[in-house]
């Protein structure tokens, strides 16, 4: 049986005639489609220009950090506006490693882990706050990280530092490796998110998303679940930051730690739909379509992006994908449970 088939295998509830399976009307072929899409994307460097692949690198970076933010805000109730802390620290981890003679591309996973480790004491600090104060606390942490990094002259201080060790690569080779690295990071981020949300912890996170008090009353260790998500999000954002460092060859504190990242992440996740895996994917696509078609119109671009955000917030409070999945009971990545009975169910397949 295929891996996808096993993930989707129903399990019987003994003695009742009911079985439990995951997701409503979606099925294995959608996961197969996702796999085929990944294979197609892997061949993109042979099909399109380096300009297009470098655009896709930016798409993958934004999708990675938005997927992480969706776990934080959409599930764990942690509305962070400071994920740029880990983007910046991931980028600077690459700088430090490369200065010390390590191969920049191979450092990406190391940088991610470094950010995960740093996020543990950060969590201990920011978890003392709630709601709006939490958001501000994360932003303060990001600003503090920027200040600290900017004051270290050996990595360029406030002006930034180039990433050494990449000049030996031919330009085409460099573009391809950049692209494949970004693709690997986003695929791992999405796959990990999918598996996480299908796990016991995923069910806990959905409960925390919906009602924190009730989740606690039902026995869930909310703080532990939040801690795990916070560390995972730091790892994902660290990987994205490391990718930015290697693909842009240069890291500047103002750009790497910019709060602009949070603005983009929030836009993408809100219009796509918080609390669904698909939401940030759809949101990222919409964001880049708008950007590619409108960026040359300057102010109009910002007005349209703002209008889209407001319109979605008013008419689709669950985001575009959130609305689709609710109306059609359809999931691309099946994480939900469906009980299938011996009798026709009121919301199962039609009789």
């Amino acid at each position: 049986m295929s891996a996808a088939g096993e993930l989707l295998a129903p399990s019987a509830i003994d003695g009742t005639g009911f079985t439990v399976r995951r997701a409503a009307r979606s099925s294995g072929w959608l996961l197969g489609f996702a796999a085929a899409l990944v294979v197609l994307l892997a061949f993109m460097p042979a099909l399109v220009s380096h300009g297009d692949t470098s655009l896709l690198v930016n798409v993958f970076v934004l999708l990675t950090i938005s997927t992480m933010w969706n776990l934080l805000a959409g599930y764990a109730g942690l509305v962070s506006i400071g994920q740029q802390a880990f983007i910046g620290l991931g980028a600077y981890s690459v700088v430090v490693a490369a200065i010390n003679g390590m191969e920049p591309f191979t450092v990406i996973p190391v940088a991610a882990v470094v950010c995960g480790v740093i996020s543990i004491p950060v969590a201990a600090l920011v978890f003392r706050t709630r709601g709006g104060y939490f958001a501000i606390a994360t932003w303060v942490v990001a600003s503090a990280a920027q200040l600290v990094i900017s004051s270290i002259t050996s990595i360029g201080g406030g002006t930034g530092h180039p990433v050494p060790g990449l000049s030996s690569l031919a330009p085409g080779e460099f573009a391809n490796i950049s692209y494949w690295s970004a693709l690997a990071v986003v695929v791992v981020a999405l796959a990990a998110t999918y598996l996480l949300l299908r796990s016991r912890l995923g069910l806990v996170l959905a409960a925390v998303r919906d009602n924190e008090d009730a989740a606690r009353a039902a026995g869930t260790r909310v703080t532990l679940a939040r801690g795990v998500v916070f560390v995972l999000a730091a790892i994902g954002c660290g990987a994205a930051g490391a990718l930015l460092a290697v693909t842009q060859l240069q890291v500047e504190p103002v750009a790497a730690f910019s709060v602009q990242w949070s603005a983009e992440i929030i836009f993408v996740t809100l219009i796509g739909g918080m609390g669904t895996i698909e939401g940030p994917i759809l949101g990222t696509v919409i964001y880049f379509v708008l950007q590619q078609n409108l960026a040359q119109h300057g102010a109009w671009y910002l007005i349209i992006v703002g209008t889209v955000a407001v319109a979605v917030a008013i008419w689709f409070p669950r985001g575009l994908w959130g609305t689709v999945t609710r109306r059609l009971r359809f999931e691309f990545f099946p994480v939900r449970y469906q009980v299938v009975g011996p009798r026709p169910q009121d919301s199962g397949s039609p009789t």
């Binding site: 509830i13 009742t16 009730a214 989740a215 606690r216 009353a217 869930t220």
Partner: protein, 247 residues
């Protein structure tokens, strides 16, 4: 098994000038079915919140199954066997009815895999929610929300269930259905403490009734006798309990 399952010793709690518990002591035996009445604002819900860990008392100790639980949070207390329902139901709105119960089965009762499915299913079956297992909880009406509140508490495998006005706002046949569920709990040895304004529902289902007023237990004992107690009649003067109590 210790003789008392839940023991409150000299609990006090106030919100500013409002006293919700004043030097309150109380114990509940394993398997007991206890009703809790009292006028609005008497501190009934606050008492549940202190037992379930949602609210910290200013003074006093709370023990469950022989161990002091004051320092434990609500999740830890649920895992020990204290299940609660909220007066205003708090379903996981975007999750299905089955998933709602499954959270409690996995986290509260510590069940895994098929065992957790079975446990969730059994609690939903008991609360007559089987035909709505795949419904999103946010789309449920009041009766089903109340049923789900109860099913989720039961799926966590409680030894003590705290029911906060589960019958409020329901019709008589609906109330009867819930009373039957509570009776069946008691029959299998699960202790129940039940807050209810619909006293008629309580009297048939509990063997002990407490009346709380301004954070003080003013009567405790046989339900019929408590309802006839002059002190109880006094605090309820002119309210629905006085009317129902004399029926």
């Amino acid at each position: 098994m210790p003789a008392t399952l839940l023991e409150l010793v000299r609990i006090s709690k106030r919100f500013g000038g409002v006293v919700v518990a004043h030097d309150l002591s109380l114990s509940v035996e394993p398997g007991a079915a206890v009703g809790l009445v009292g006028p609005n604002g008497a501190g009934k819900t606050s008492l549940f919140s202190m037992v379930a860990g949602d609210l910290r008392p200013d003074a006093g100790t709370i023990s469950f199954d022989g161990a002091v639980v004051n320092r434990l949070g609500p999740a830890a207390r649920c895992r020990l066997g204290i299940g609660r329902t909220y007066q205003v139901p708090k379903p996981f709105e975007r999750m299905t009815v089955f998933e709602n119960a499954l959270v409690a089965a996995q986290q509260g009762a510590g069940a895994r895999g098929q065992d957790s499915h079975h446990r969730a299913f059994a609690s939903l079956e008991r609360c007559n929610l089987i035909d709505k297992v795949n419904r999103e909880a946010g789309s449920l009406g009041l009766l089903d929300r109340k049923r789900l509140e109860l099913a989720r508490a039961l799926a966590s495998g409680p030894r003590l269930v705290l029911l906060d006005e589960v019958a409020g706002g329901l019709t008589q046949p609906e109330v009867r259905e819930l009373v039957d569920i509570v009776r069946s709990l008691r029959a299998e040895g699960t202790a129940v403490v039940w807050i209810e304004h619909v006293v008629r529902a309580l009297v048939g289902a509990v063997d002990r009734l407490l009346c709380l007023a301004a954070g003080v237990v003013i009567a405790d004992g046989d339900p019929v006798r408590v309802l006839d107690d002059p002190a109880v009649r006094e605090v309820y003067l002119g309210t629905e309990l006085a009317i129902e109590g004399t029926v």
